[in-house]
């Protein structure tokens, strides 16, 4: 390709942007290698373009944004004197504030109900500090007592269960016979009488099976608030 200085000038940006065809690019480079003038132009322009691309934007004057906002949305009016103290009032009209208020109100209702306050039965005297303290104190003690009673009841149930449960677990320990699999391997004919001897306390097992159900009934009765002595008497009767 016959390349000349005019072509170089004309296609310089295409060359820098990589938009020349391979043949054109080769001709461009070949000409630049020969022509000192064009080589200088290419070097200067490519250097300039690189520097301009790396150049960061200038910072706008700090007052510009404020000026633009003033020009478009109108100047922000500064209230003077006592009116400034009520600048926060518009905040109350925001939906998020209403949401927050509703949440707090719901929370207060929940707390007051758990504390035993019913707005319908509320009297003026209930709001006096001593009465509020007294009712809160009573409520706290009631809650503690309920919790303590629940834990006690639970403990009794577990004690009863632990007394009723261990028998099936201790059964295999009490008979020191080898495991049934080994018996099958070594002495198949002897296994039958041994099994018989193991199955001898069958009534005990059925009792043991019934016991958890009974214990469950006990927990039910405990939950209903039955007295401890009735439980004891019922356990005695089972034994």
């Amino acid at each position: 390709m016959d390349w000349n200085c005019a072509f170089t000038d004309e296609r310089l940006s295409d060359y820098l942007d990589g938009n020349l065809s391979p043949a054109e690019a080769a001709a461009f480079s070949a000409h630049s290698a020969e022509c000192a003038n064009c080589a200088q132009t290419v070097a200067l322009v490519s250097g300039l373009v690189n520097r301009m691309h790396k150049m960061e934007m200038l910072e706008e004057p700090p007052q510009l944004v404020a000026k633009i906002l003033d020009a478009t949305l109108g100047p922000r009016t500064q209230k003077e004197g006592w009116k400034r103290w009520f600048d926060w009032v518009p905040i109350l009209w925001q939906p998020r504030f209403a949401m927050g208020l509703a949440t707090v109100a719901a929370l207060l209702v929940v707390i007051s109900y758990t504390a035993g306050l019913t707005p319908a039965k509320l009297k003026k005297a209930d709001l006096s500090p001593t009465n509020v303290f007294r009712s809160a104190n009573r409520q706290a003690h009631m809650t503690y007592a309920r919790g303590a009673k629940f834990v006690n009841d639970l403990r009794v149930v577990y004690e009863i269960q632990s007394k009723l449960q261990p028998e099936p677990e201790t059964l295999p320990v009490s008979t020191p016979a080898p495991t049934p699999e080994k018996e099958h391997d070594s002495q198949p004919p002897n296994s039958i009488p041994q099994q018989k001897s193991q199955t001898a306390p069958i009534p005990n097992r059925t009792q043991a099976r019934n016991r958890p159900i009974f214990a469950f009934l006990l927990t039910e009765s405990l939950a209903d608030g039955m007295a401890e002595n009735t439980i004891n008497s019922s356990t005695r009767s089972t034994r």
């Binding site: 310089l12 070097a43 200067l44 250097g47 301009m52 200038l58 910072e59 944004v65 633009i68």
Partner: protein, 167 residues
Amino acid sequence: MRRHSRRVFNLCYRFTGNSTEAEDLSQEVFLRLYKTLASYKPAFGAFPTWLTSVTRNLLVDNYRRTRRDRQTDSIDDAMPQLEEKHSSARAPDKLAEATELSVQLQRGLARLSPELRESVILRDLQGLEYNEIQVVLQVPEGTVKSRINRGRIELARILTEMGVRPS
């Protein structure tokens, strides 16, 4: 907002070479934008391109309006020097014009013709693509490419004449 205002301010400053004028023009751009925002349609292209178009049109209007003053005042040649003094008096730190090249580039740009100047600014300083510049300038792509090419070469020559070696 700040991103757009910076873009607009830079475009105005690089075109006019005067920070006060650029500030006033930027303000005017956003005022015009605010008034015509309802007429913006996605068919006009991306919002930044549209913003650049509005800015460019305003710059051209402003250039035409002030051209007569420039000719009668014969202040045109003295402008870069005037700007240098002006900007140093107006706290150049605020413009973050720390690099020497930035100042010299500004002087060089001032000596380019407006068509070449705006093309080079949009392509190399604002980083617009050729097709975006085509939309902004409302000229064919071939013209855009040719203006950018001529603008770059001429700017490099001007800077060399000024004793600046950009490479």
